[in-house]
Symmetry: none
Subunit: 209 residues, 2 copies
């Protein structure tokens, strides 16, 4: 147990005893998109020390947040337990809370398209009246499609490039999250949708051929 317990009979304190360690919630963030192997986790987390990753995975497994499974290729993969999956609510609330921090711009920070797959539902979800729409962001090596309908937002990751895909997203999200993530070479053409109404679909971008 890397973190000293707060020793408080309080839900918040006990939650933080379990996932309040450095890197723990970021590991959960990665696994919210599906099981990953050790090396994939290390790569996606971007420079976590290997001993820390091993420690965190051990303690998260011991506390029932993460479990080891046998992946399709025979290797061991790490996955969230049902209880661990319930941390999505917490992660999304922190993503929403971070909006002022994200609007400050990317700066020197690293960026991985994967992270959008967690952030976008958190930022776009929760709206009441929402027209059916399709939102996508395409970045090197990854296409993200966010489909919005009456049942809520659904995110799908499409590894294969989809040339000529029409991308749409809420300006606030695209300008806040994707600023700096898309290069000029991707030639994103920004234009307002004809007859766009409501908070959605105000920006169109065209992916490179």
């Amino acid at each position: 147990m890397p973190a000293r317990s707060y020793g408080q009979y309080c839900g918040l304190a006990r939650s933080l005893d379990t996932v309040g360690d450095r890197w723990s919630l970021l590991i959960v963030r990665e696994l919210l998109l599906g099981p990953l192997r050790y090396g994939e986790l290390a790569a996606s987390l971007g420079g976590i020390a290997t001993n820390l990753l091993a420690d965190r995975l051990r303690s998260l497994e011991a506390s029932g947040v993460v479990e080891r499974r046998l992946g399709a290729s025979g290797g061991v993969v790490y996955a969230l337990t049902p209880w661990g999956e319930e941390l999505r609510e917490t992660v999304e609330s922190l993503v929403r809370w971070s909006r002022p921090l994200m609007l400050a711009g990317r700066g020197e920070d690293a960026f991985r398209p994967r992270w959008l797959a967690v952030a976008l539902p958190a930022l776009l979800g929760g709206r009441t009246a929402r027209p059916a729409a399709e939102v996508g962001i395409e970045v090197p090596g990854l296409s993200l499609a966010l489909r919005l309908d009456e049942t809520g937002p659904h995110v799908t990751i499409e590894p294969e490039q989809r040339a000529g895909t029409v991308l749409a997203a809420e300006p606030e999200v695209v300008l806040g999250l994707a600023a700096g993530a898309l290069t000029l070479d991707q030639a994103l053409a920004v234009a307002h949708v004809d007859g766009a109404r409501g908070p959605l679909a105000a920006v169109f971008a065209r992916a490179p051929a």
Copy 2:
């Protein structure tokens, strides 16, 4: 800044850069109940090192989560900014997530009735569809059991006397009772017997023989 930044352009990572430090969210928890002075914070947090408290308050103030105000008695009090207040959502989601941890029992952990004032709304409020669960809470001289099922939340209070008393009360009554603001006799006087009214007005008080 005590915490090294993760250096990731991700909402979760930036939120954790801001409030992911040890003690930071517990400080927020205390201030969610209202402004406090430095000494009150230190006492309620139970044994935080004074230099750490000073450090955290400084960085939370620098990042716009907390602000210093002049209290009624002329002294300086610490209070949440509007943005800091928005962390209530995150805190409550962690409180809900901690249910299995809290069901494990109190053990040697410290307990302060204040903490219930944050936890109970998180557990009682919220969604409509909720799986059946039972939460036990121990207050000095009082045992509280909170049972959640499809019909809503039910609180079972187990004092020394009042055996078999069934009553209905608003959640605020239970909250006041649990937080020490109301004595059991006062709560019983305010509560309404049977004929529960309102969506959350099903509160049972029962004592062991």
